[in-house]
């Protein structure tokens, strides 16, 4: 086909058309839903004002389903939206986890012979993006949506509709980021029964790495990169909307008896996180737009003859380092909340934990160039960033000591949430200390861009962030489902997860110290001088299998317990009243259980 347009423009147009179609589809769907959810259908299905029954086939079908789809698509209730966020996060985590297992499989052999290089590059790119933007942030936003209003005694989030909008922007963003996969699924499904539609195979998975460094990201022809940038931009908008909601809810919607002096620790951390989001994410959004312009409209923000690739790195990491605290602070908040409950003592040095959280919130904006020590920026500048980076370790250490002191002479109950919390603190220490090493310029010159860095941040992202997401899922499971999970299975799961994380990521530290570069699909080159690399990769892959098994156990336990777990009849399943740590969300739960009991027993003579 001879086209008057150059190929790249044609492809971009095709990509834009695809994006447009997706958006139109979403618009049509929401229109249908809104017209379906007209006020009348809010009555209990099947009834009419005059007492007769409605017989529309659709409403009968709806009533027969275990979950009402229209309700879940149109809800603005903060707990419903929180639940949706949590489900979305689980899906993203499983998807990103599959990427991870495939990465580890490739590294079983020195040559790139399981998947080819391009697939490998795509895998670590989508893995990183999916985990950071679509697993961790939504998971903690879900927690915030469900619990924050309960903690501060608000009836709702400040802007319920904005809240729903923020959530519903996420599925399309994820689809845009991973659109190639989705279109290909369509393509394959079509090809199985009929014609092969070539345009559906146009989008290849992006291979830029999650950091999207220019010039690579500006010059790759793959139109999927443009969709990726749009998707990330959309998810950034969603994240900012969520953060504004959190900020305003805490600032203006607190109940009269919730003051700054008695605000709980999780709310403090979520508030700080929301503040960081408000300053960091708009910057990412601008940088993404600039990159889009460079790619499609010939601007030179990041071109060598323009702003230069270093400009991208500055902009990206000015967002990127605060982002790591956006991810980790809620996890710290969960440790500070959950750990004392099972130690039978109040959090030691509450005030200092709050101060250190706020300190991190501010300092996190002053350390970004420690990701750029190897770029040749002015050494004096590097030295200042090194100093601030070492300083930011102090507030994290303060928290760690507070957690350990909380355990001191406590009455420790090793329930699954507690095992995960203690394991999380331990693994975080490894992640934090390796981070301090990296923050020192001479060490970083050697270790930059090796597997050591991958080991460092995974001790944090898996070791404490994912760990605390699991801990929270157990801790609040009774409240979310009114059922108890299988406690023995959960303990087994918690221990195997800790072991799995250690076995997976410790070898990466060793590999990095041996000089093994990261983002290599094949390491045959290094095998002559470092025959031990393969064994270390095998151990790491074995660890990943342990993590996979552990996550499967978790999923199975929760799904099964949701179906047939033992009903919870007390509002205090963790015996928190005993140690005076019965918090507001459980009080709310207790009240609701009471109310249910009244409702079901009223009108019944005996019982």
């Amino acid at each position: 086909m001879s086209s008057p347009l150059p190929a790249s423009v044609g492809e971009s147009l095709a990509a834009a058309a695809l994006a447009g179609t997706l958006l139109l589809g979403a618009g049509w769907l929401s229109y249908r839903i809104r017209s379906n959810a007209s006020p009348g259908s809010r009555d209990p299905p099947g009834t009419r004002a005059d007492g007769g029954t409605r017989t529309s086939r659709v409403s009968r079908l709806r009533a027969g389903l275990p979950y009402d789809p229209v309700r879940w698509l149109t809800t603005v209730n903060h707990r419903d939206i929180g639940t949706l966020y949590l489900l979305f996060a689980v899906v993203a985590a499983l998807w990103g986890g599959t990427d991870a297992l495939m990465i580890r499989t490739e590294l079983l052999t020195p040559a790139a012979d399981v998947w080819d290089e391009r697939t490998y590059n795509a895998l670590f790119t989508t893995h990183g993006l999916t985990m950071l933007f679509f697993f961790v942030t939504p998971a903690f936003t879900g927690v915030a949506n469900y619990f924050l209003p309960l903690f501060v005694g608000a009836d709702e989030m400040a802007f319920p509709r904005v809240n729903a909008l923020a959530f519903w922007l996420l599925p399309p963003s994820l689809l845009l980021v991973r659109a190639g996969l989705v279109t290909e699924v369509f393509g394959k499904a079509l090809a199985a029964v009929g014609p092969r539609v070539d345009v559906l195979y146009l989008l290849e998975p992006p291979t830029t790495g999650w950091t999207l460094y220019t010039p690579l990201s500006a010059t790759l022809a793959n139109p999927q990169i443009d969709l990726l940038l749009l998707g990330l931009h959309l998810s950034g908008i969603a994240t900012v909307l969520g953060a504004v909601n959190i900020l305003v809810t805490v600032l203006v919607d607190r109940a009269p008896d919730v003051t700054w002096a008695n605000l709980d620790i999780l709310t403090w951390t979520l508030l700080t996180t929301a503040g960081i989001i408000l300053f960091a994410f708009p910057l990412l959004g601008s940088a993404l737009v600039m990159l889009l312009l460079d790619r499609n409209f010939g601007t030179t923000f990041f071109a060598v003859e323009g702003g230069g690739p270093i400009l991208w790195q500055h902009l990206f990491w000015f967002f990127g380092h605060p982002e790591v605290y956006i991810l980790v602070l809620p996890a710290f908040g969960l440790v500070s909340l959950i750990l004392p409950k099972f130690a039978g003592r109040k959090l030691f040095g509450f005030k200092f934990v709050v101060y250190s959280t706020l300190a991190i919130g501010v300092l996190s904006f002053g350390v970004w160039a420690h990701h750029m020590f190897a770029t040749g920026i002015d050494p004096r500048l590097q030295a200042s960033f090194m100093a601030v980076s070492l300083a930011i370790a102090v507030p994290s250490a303060v928290k760690t000591f507070n957690w350990m002191t909380t355990l001191w002479r406590g009455r420790i109950r090793l329930a699954a949430p507690m095992i995960l919390s203690i394991g999380g603190v331990g693994l975080f220490i490894v992640g934090g200390v390796t981070g301090i090493f990296l923050a020192s310029i001479p060490v970083d010159r050697v270790l930059h861009d090796t597997h050591y860095v991958v080991g460092h941040f995974h001790f944090i992202v898996m070791g404490v962030i994912a760990m605390m997401a699991f801990a929270a899922s157990y801790y609040w499971f009774p409240l979310l489902t009114r059922r108890m999970y299988d406690r023995r299975m959960a303990r087994v799961q918690a221990y195997t997860l800790i072991v799995g994380v250690f076995v997976t990521f410790f070898p990466l530290l060793l590999l990095g110290m041996d000089g093994h570069p990261r983002r290599w699909a094949s390491y045959t080159q290094g095998m002559d001088t470092n025959p031990g690399w393969m064994l270390l990769h095998w151990i790491a892959t074995g660890g990943a299998a342990i993590i996979g098994a552990s996550v499967t156990l978790w999923l199975f336990n929760l799904v099964q317990s949701m179906r047939v777990g033992a009903p919870v009849t007390t509002g205090d399943p963790w015996n928190l009243k005993e140690t005076g740590q019965f918090t507001r969300e459980w009080a709310w739960f207790e009240e609701r259980l009471e109310e249910r009991r009244r409702r079901t027993t009223s009108g019944v003579e005996d019982d």
Binding site: P44, D68, L101, L108, V114, W115, K188, G548, V564, A566
Partner: protein, 163 residues
């Protein structure tokens, strides 16, 4: 609902889950496994992907679920039908891997084995869970009594406004 009908509906749900999972695996692995060929080999029509897939769906919707009902009382891992479904799906997975593996080997065979195991477990679980719900078997065999009011919620939809 009677048991065979529930089982067939369960099978339909299970096959939907299984097909989507296989399709995702196929695309995620950039067609390195060639799952459509695997399916065709598995059902005994190597090379014919469309017919293979059709047979595969038919078996998953009718043959296996009806066999499941017939064998239900003898399956291990009871009494929950969903767990029994998982136990039932494992031999199917073994057959799938053995008959369908073609000339896959090495690390990729491991990935293929693990991912298809998950897909089959999901099939068995969905089959059993939907069957159990529709036929009432799950409630009858629930190890713990459900909340007494729960069933009423489902019927009147009264549960929805207080969530």
């Amino acid at each position: 609902m009677n048991k065979p009908t529930s089982a067939v509906l369960g099978g339909a749900a299970g096959v939907a889950v299984l097909s989507v999972a296989l399709l995702l695996i196929e695309v995620e692995t950039r067609s390195r496994i060639g799952l459509f060929d695997v399916v065709a080999r598995f059902v005994g029509v190597p090379g014919n992907q469309a017919l293979g897939f059709l047979l595969f769906v038919a078996a998953g919707t009718f043959a296996w679920p009806l066999l499941f009902v017939a064998l239900e009382a003898y399956l291990p891992l009871g009494p929950d039908p969903a767990i029994r479904g998982v136990g039932f799906a494992i031999p199917l997975w073994v057959a799938f891997v053995v008959l369908g593996r073609g000339d896959l080997s090495g690390a990729i065979l491991v990935v293929y084995g693990v991912l298809t195991l998950f897909a089959h477990v999901a099939y068995g679980f969905t089959l059993g869970a939907v069957y159990g719900r529709l036929s009432g078997e799950t409630d009858a065999r629930r190890p713990m009594p459900a909340y007494p009011e729960e069933d009423r919620d489902v019927e009147t939809g009264a549960g929805s406004e207080d969530r």
